[in-house]
Amino acid sequence: MNKSNIPDPDLDKLLKQALKDNIPPEVEARMNRQFLNLKRTLDRPESLAKADEWLWMGGPLQRKILAVASTVMLILGVVMHLSGSQSALAHSIEQLKVNVTVSVNLNRAVFMDCTVLTPEAGGENTSFHVLWRANGDARVDMVSTAGAQTIWILDETILLAGSDGSSIRSMPFKTIASDPEWQPAMDFRTPVLLAKHMEERYGLMQTGARGGAGSGEFLVIGQQDQQAVEITVDAKTYLPKVLKKYAPDSGRMNGDRICLIEIRFLWNQPISGELFVPGPLAGKQ
């Protein structure tokens, strides 16, 4: 293209007329300010570079350090987590989960057969044999130095054999519940009551295989009125096998611990219905 071919020599004038600058003055002022800011920024290239990245990610050396640090942290975190080291939080959660599982399984129990032993001074024991079934019927046999006695608990009513051995007397449940003679057995007369005690009274805080607990069982340790409470739980069924209460401070001075009460449980093994029928001879064990 040759300059001589241009028809109109006053091209600048033509362009000015065609592209007339009619921008409002305030917009023009704003554009000028923006342009000046941009120019100022371009004069300082380091500031533009910084604008494109987070400040602390600066140079390549810094990046390498950060990359190494992140890798080390990731590996350390995963290894620490997978090593399974128990923490306070995990321990609390574990304890809660054990308690909840035991409690739910106790509430689902169909039959309970438990023996309560209360050692007394002079080496004599009072023992109670508690039988319970899911419809709420229970039978308690007490054997002590004074003799043997049996009661049946049906619908919050106590039935017991009369002194003549042939008649049956009934009385409100409260009379026996408050009787200190029967008290040890009354705390374990139903699985629901046992679950409630475990949740509300024993404050069970520790678990783990210890001392007497075998491979298929674990110990849950708590406290009630300063007495140590130890429950051996079956690891398969999550139901208690043995519950023991020890005297306060016993065993601290390397001596034998004084067991105040020992309860042995058998769960969900069918119990003959005859045993729950009140009567002097019915279902005699």
């Binding site: 300010r33 800011n37 920024t41 500031s47 533009l48 910084k50 604008a51 494109d52 990245e53 987070w54 400040l55 990046r63 640090a69 992140s70 890798t71 080390v72 942290m73 990731l74 590996i75 350390l76 975190g77 995963v78 620490m80 987590h81 399974g84 128990q86 923490s87 306070a88 939080l89 995990a90 321990h91 609390s92 959660i93 574990e94 304890q95 809660l96 989960k97 054990v98 308690n99 909840v100 599982t101 739910v104 399984n105 679950a195 475990m198 949740e199 509300e200 009274r201 024993y202 404050g203 069970l204 805080m205 678990t207 295989a209 674990f218 708590g222 406290q223 398969k236 069924t237 999550y238």
Partner: protein, 343 residues
């Protein structure tokens, strides 16, 4: 004309007071107004939120934002900054609501070691406090979003009606310096965090618990940020923290399900460890977003490196605390769910 306007204003104020009264009566009539009070949770959310604002904004900008919220007059750029301030305030309270809820459930479980009651009756109150914390967070967030929306409306009305009189603030590109308010903000936030936790549990109990998840989330977030590229202006530490928090939580849930296949005490130990990992992953991610991610993004906006928060950051800020709450409920369910019976 002015008397009509003042009459309308009085009516508006009276209406607002009436609405507040109705809400207050509703709360009182619900039966247990004391049940809505958790002083530790509220103080942590409030003080922590103020501290986060001090970290992100200088005092002059905070004062200006309050002035704009009250009067609504100022240049477009100034009002734009105030809109950003109020959005950040709402976001901070919302994130802190989530953080406080995770913290209070952790404190609740760790504190159970010293409580006599150890059953379901002890667990229920532990879930109430996290819900209260998120309630306070969302309440304060909504209060902050009101001026944000109001100022946004003013900006929109101005852009539709050209006004030659208004002026623009010059763009400032520069390296932000350490301010006194920023240092004070961090100190205040950490003081609130430590004192809230220390009052209720021994912090030495907490440190060994959070180490694994802290390393995983922090290391992972750092790696993500490096991979995403330092030259990308849309690089969002908040999104990286949220992403790693999610990954950590998923790791925990997978481990928990594996642990649940083993109904022995060892299995329960695995389940408990996994649930602790989920809780601390959420906690670390939220803490990272609040202390590192959000202030960095705010600084980028204030220094005009970015014109608005990235969509990834917004998703991280508003969705992850909600996700944490869902995880808390899941963790809670997992604890009260008994293990499957013997095979």
């Amino acid at each position: 004309m002015s008397s009509t306007n003042s009459g309308k204003r009085f009516l508006l104020i009276a209406g607002k007071i009436l609405i507040l009264l109705i809400v207050a009566i509703g709360v009182l009539q619900s039966g247990t107004p004391a049940g809505y009070i958790d002083p530790y949770g509220f103080l942590f959310v409030l003080v922590g939120g103020v501290a986060l604002l001090m970290i992100s904004f200088p005092g002059a900008e905070i004062w200006r934002a309050f002035r704009h919220a009250a009067r609504g007059s100022g240049s477009d750029a100034e009002i734009g900054n105030s809109v950003h301030f109020w959005e950040s305030a709402g976001r901070s309270f919302w994130i802190l609501g989530g953080l406080s809820s995770v913290l209070s459930i952790i404190i609740g479980f760790v504190g159970l070691r010293t409580v006599e009651v150890a059953g379901l009756s002890a667990i229920i109150p532990i879930l109430i406090r996290p819900l209260l914390s998120i309630f306070y967070g969302s309440l304060l967030a909504v209060i902050c979003f009101v001026p944000c929306w109001k100022l946004q409306g003013i900006l929109q009305s101005r852009s539709s009606a050209p006004n030659p009189g208004r002026n623009e603030m010059p763009i400032s590109i520069g390296r932000p310096r350490w301010r006194f308010g920023l240092v004070l903000g961090y100190v205040l936030f950490l003081a609130a965090l430590v004192s809230t936790s220390q009052i209720q549990i021994n912090l030495s109990d907490l440190w060994p618990v959070c180490k694994p998840s802290l390393f995983v989330v922090l290391g992972g977030a750092l790696a993500l940020m490096l991979f995403m590229g330092g030259n990308n202006i849309r690089l969002t530490p908040s999104a990286a923290f949220a992403g790693m928090g999610l990954i950590g939580s998923l790791m925990g849930f997978i481990q928990m399900l594996i642990g649940m296949t083993d109904p022995s005490p060892q299995g329960i130990g695995h389940v408990a460890g996994a649930l602790a990992f989920v809780l601390f992953s959420c906690f670390t991610a939220l803490l990272g977003m609040a202390l590192i991610g959000a202030p960095l993004e705010d600084r980028a906006i204030r220094t005009r490196q970015a014109c608005r928060p990235s969509a990834f950051s917004r998703v991280a800020w508003y969705v992850f605390p909600l996700l944490s709450l869902i995880f808390l409920v899941l963790v809670f369910n997992m604890i009260i769910l008994p293990l499957p019976g013997p095979r």
